[in-house]
Symmetry: C2
């Protein structure tokens, strides 16, 4: 059985946003503020370090009953028995990931256009991330997706869609109006003075709009 997922407020971790704050504590605050799903993303860690962090985050998300998805690394997802895996266009092909993961784990795929979205769904994705929607400081070589394109993708794939890229309190309502299922954020929560407060406000902006 796959977990029953609320995609509403999807936290993607990014150590670069933490400015010295503790990752585990910050995730816990974010969950207290309303985060409904956590994706653990570690781009520079050794496999051992990634595994050890993932063990800690898994204990935390399990405690709060929140699904945990691992970015890119299927081996880490299996090693900690995470709820799923999220792959980008430079990671394992979704079809290959699905085959190794089996049918009881969530599989998410980052996409930037309708073609990629439909392909992801055909290859076994449970949900897709779509973006980048708005400029951020954290990414270069960004592929942009307009809100009109986002809405069109949502209307064309019948799996949950999460918007990503520069989403914050001020634009969350505009994103919601496209009809998608959730917003994925990193810096808007992790770099905020209070992760809990930032998550709470984002949750209100998107979920209560």
């Amino acid at each position: 059985m796959k977990p029953n997922v609320n995609y509403g407020l999807y936290l993607i971790t990014d150590r670069a946003c933490l400015q010295g704050k503790n990752l585990i504590e910050t995730i816990e605050e974010a969950i207290a503020g309303g985060v409904t799903l956590v994706q653990l993303r570690e781009k520079d860690a050794s496999s051992l370090a990634f595994y050890e962090i993932a063990v800690q985050v898994k204990a935390l998300t399990s405690k709060y009953g929140i699904p945990l998805v691992i970015n890119d690394r299927l081996d880490i997802a299996l090693a900690v028995d995470a709820d799923g895996l999220h792959v980008g266009q430079s990671d394992l092909p979704a079809s290959v990931a699905r085959k190794v993961l089996g049918n009881h784990k969530l599989l998410g795929v980052s996409t930037a256009n309708l073609e990629e979205a439909l392909k992801a769904k055909a290859e076994g994705a449970d949900y897709i991330g779509v973006g980048a929607l708005f400029p951020t400081n954290t990414k270069t070589d960004t592929r942009w997706v307009t809100l009109e394109q986002l809405q069109s993708i949502k209307e064309s794939v019948n799996i949950p869609v999460v918007g990503i890229g520069g989403i914050q309190e001020s634009n969350a309502l505009a994103v919601k109006e496209t009809g998608i299922d959730g917003i994925a954020v990193a810096s808007a929560i992790l770099a905020a003075p209070s992760a809990k407060e930032a998550a709470r406000r984002l949750w209100k902006s998107f979920m209560n709009a």
Copy 2:
């Protein structure tokens, strides 16, 4: 069933040694020269690039009936149905890797002393790599193992032992006299003018000594 492995001449790939040569062609030459086992090691590739290379190398090793082991990345090993995984001390713990791999895949562990060797065996390693034995240009922060220590480790663990680090034609006989099961090499084959000829000479030095 695990493959029946000849550890005699164990090739570890390293793109930095290739000086522009094609990886797949060079591995094929090395196999023609007598390599008995291949470990695919990619430290800077994206998951997608690693996967795509691994698919090619798996097709090659299958063609010649040579086992293929993937360095570090259990997900890539599973994705291409490689014969096994090799982990270092900064990779997934051997016990965790064994649990995810199951009992039908090879698991190798890099070790540099008796304590690590015995721990690797207890955690499910099928074989261990032991080194570094001799200086090389390719590694910094090296932990050294003498031939006396190597022999002592071999006498204390009853699983196959492969020596690693700076092994070449000139010292292969001294390594063989420790009683270990095989020699692991990268540059001695990959950086040679002819990988086939270099492999053939190493094979003779170690296997025919």
